[in-house]
C-alpha cells in the first residue's frame, strides 16, 4: 500500500527533516510512526499525502507514483492533520458534502457516503451543529469523517488522539479498528502515546532525526523484557513521556 525508497526532505534553511526513508506498509495493516518531536513524522506524512514535495527519493502510495501521479494518490488516500479541519463557524453537514463533492461524488452520493461514515463513527445527529459546538473527541471523529468522504483505501492520521481524555482515546481506537474490519482500510498513524501504539498498531516504526531507528511489531520490539517506553529510550536517547507532555 505504501512503498518508499530513499524519501528525503531538506527544507530551504538546510535542515533535513526526513532522511532516506525506505519503508513499506502492507494492505490492511495499522502501522504506527513513533518518535520524539521534530523526528520528521509529520513531514514524512505530508510527503506521502502529496502536500509536500520530497527533495529526493520516490514512493508508490495506494498504487500510484507520488511524484508522477499525485492526483491519483489523493483520490485514494484520506488524511487527518494534527490540527484537523473542522471550521468552527460552518455547519458540518455542508462542509462534509463539500469535501465529498470535491472527490467527484454527486450530491446524492456524497450525502449517502457521509451518512454512512457518521454512523460508523457514532456521530449521527451531530452534523447539523457548527464545528465550534463539538467536544474534543467529537471534533476529532469529524476530522476522520472528512478524511473518509471518498472511501479511501489508505488513511493517514497525524496524532489522532493528542489532547483527548482516556475514554475518547479508547473510543477512537475502536473506531479505527472498525474501519479496518468493515472497510479493509489501511491505517498509517503517528502518535506520542506508546500505550496507543502498543494497543492499536500491528507494526511500529520509530523515527529519530529523520531516520527510522527501529522497526517491528510491538511484541517483537520489546526484546529482553523491556517495555515499549524502554525501547523508545534506548533507540532515541529520550524518554517518551516527556514528548507526550504527560
Amino acid at each position: 500500500m505504501i512503498n518508499t525508497i530513499g524519501l528525503t526532505k531538506t527544507f530551504d534553511g538546510g535542515a533535513t527533516a526526513v532522511a532516506d526513508l525506505t519503508m513499506s506498509v502492507e494492505p490492511g495493516e495499522i502501522v504506527g510512526f513513533l518518535g520524539p518531536n521534530g523526528a520528521g513524522k509529520t513531514t514524512a506524512m505530508r510527503m506521502l499525502t502529496t502536500l509536500l514535495g520530497p527533495t529526493s527519493g520516490t514512493a508508490v502510495v495506494a498504487g500510484h507514483d507520488l511524484l508522477a501521479d499525485p492526483r491519483e494518490v489523493r483520490r485514494r488516500v484520506g488524511y487527518v492533520s494534527q490540527t484537523g479541519g473542522v471550521d468552527p463557524a460552518a455547519p458540518l453537514r455542508e462542509e462534509l458534502l463539500l469535501q465529498a463533492m470535491l472527490y467527484g461524488l454527486s450530491r446524492a452520493e456524497a450525502a449517502a457516503g457521509t451518512a454512512e461514515s457518521l454512523a460508523l463513527l457514532g456521530l449521527t445527529g451531530l452534523e447539523d451543529r457548527p464545528g465550534g459546538a463539538l467536544s474534543g473527541g467529537q471534533r476529532r471523529r469529524f476530522d476522520i469523517a472528512f478524511a473518509l468522504a471518498h472511501r479511501p483505501v489508505l488513511l493517514f492520521l497525524d496524532e489522532p488522539t493528542t489532547g483527548l481524555d482516556p475514554r475518547s482515546r479508547a473510543a477512537l481506537w475502536d473506531h479505527v479498528r472498525t474501519l479496518r474490519a468493515e472497510r479493509g482500510v489501511t491505517v498509517f498513524l503517528t502518535t506520542h502515546y506508546l500505550d496507543e501504539a502498543d494497543a492499536l498498531c500491528d507494526r511500529l516504526l520509530i523515527m529519530d532525526h529523520g531516520r527510522v531507528v527501529a522497526e517491528g511489531a510491538p511484541a517483537a520490539l520489546k526484546t529482553g523484557g523491556r517495555t515499549l517506553d524502554e525501547v523508545f529510550l534506548d533507540v532515541t536517547g529520550r524518554p517518551p513521556a516527556e514528548e507526550a507532555g504527560v
Binding site: R74, S81, L102, A147
Partner: protein, 240 residues
C-alpha cells in the same frame, strides 16, 4: 470547472451567513459618500465620485480578503481541501470568485446610495462597470490571499490596512489625478487602479468605446491574470 463551481457556491453561502460582515465592508465608502460627497460635488459630480469610492471599496474590502484564508489555514480547513484532487487553481478561483460576488453586492449598495444622492448613470454603463468590478475583485482577492499566505499572519492586518491608503489615494479615488501636480500624476500612472478607475468613470458617463475604457479593461484583466497566477502558486505551496 466543476470544483470551482462547488467551491464558489460554498464561498457565497459562507458570505450569506456573514451578512453583517459584507455590510460592514461597505461602510467606509458609504461614509465618504455621505460626509465627503456633498463637499466634492461643489467642484465635481456624483458620477465622478462614486466610481472612485468603488475602487476604494475594492481595495479596503476585497484587498483584505486574505484574512479569511489565514483563518482557514489556522483551523486546518485549507489543508483539508488541499488533500482533495481538486486543482489548486480551482481551490483559489472558487473562493476568489466568491469574494468578487461579495464586492459586487457591496458595489450595488454603494451605487444605490449614490442614486439616492443624485448620481445618474446609464444602465449599460453600470452593468459594464460591475463586470469590470468582478475582474478587479478577482485580482485583488487572489493577490490578497497570496500576500496573506506568504506574510507573517500577525503582520497582515496592519501592513495591508496601511498599504491600501496610498493605493486608494494614487488611484485618484477622491479627486481625479488630472488635478494633481506633475510628479504625483506621474507616480499614479504606476498604479493599475488608476486605469481601472478612469475606465469606470467613462462607463458611468456613458462613454463605452473610448481608449480609456479599453486601457482600463486591459489593465484589469492583466491584473487579475497575474493575481491568479501568483495566488495559485502560493496556494499550492504554502497553504499548509
Amino acid at each position: 470547472m466543476r470544483d470551482t463551481w462547488i467551491l464558489f457556491r460554498h464561498s457565497v453561502r459562507a458570505s450569506l451567513r456573514q451578512k453583517a460582515g459584507v455590510l460592514f465592508g461597505a461602510v467606509q465608502p458609504l461614509l465618504f459618500l455621505l460626509l465627503f460627497g456633498p463637499i466634492f460635488v461643489t467642484i465635481g459630480t456624483w458620477e465622478t465620485l462614486v466610481p472612485g469610492l468603488i475602487v476604494q471599496l475594492g481595495l479596503t474590502s476585497t484587498g483584505l480578503a486574505g484574512f479569511g484564508v489565514v483563518f482557514d489555514r489556522r483551523s486546518g480547513v485549507l489543508e483539508r481541501l488541499r488533500v482533495t484532487p481538486a486543482s489548486r487553481l480551482s481551490l483559489l478561483l472558487g473562493r476568489v470568485l466568491g469574494n468578487a460576488v461579495t464586492l459586487v453586492a457591496q458595489t450595488l449598495l454603494l451605487v444605490a446610495a449614490g442614486y439616492a444622492f443624485g448620481m445618474r448613470a446609464p444602465l449599460a454603463g453600470l452593468a459594464a462597470g460591475l463586470a469590470l468590478v468582478v475582474v478587479l475583485g478577482t485580482g485583488l482577492a487572489a493577490l490578497s490571499y497570496a500576500i496573506a499566505l506568504t506574510m507573517d499572519e500577525h503582520l497582515f492586518a496592519p501592513v495591508m490596512s496601511t498599504a491600501v491608503v496610498p493605493l486608494v489615494l494614487l488611484s485618484g479615488s477622491f479627486l481625479p489625478m488630472s488635478m494633481a501636480p506633475g510628479w504625483l500624476d506621474a507616480l499614479s500612472h504606476a498604479s493599475p487602479f488608476r486605469y481601472v478607475l478612469e475606465a469606470l468613470r467613462e462607463l458611468f458617463a456613458g462613454r463605452y468605446a473610448s481608449a480609456t475604457v479599453v486601457t482600463g479593461v486591459a489593465v484589469a484583466v492583466a491584473f487579475a491574470a497575474i493575481g491568479l497566477l501568483v495566488g495559485t502558486r502560493v496556494f499550492g505551496e504554502r497553504a499548509a
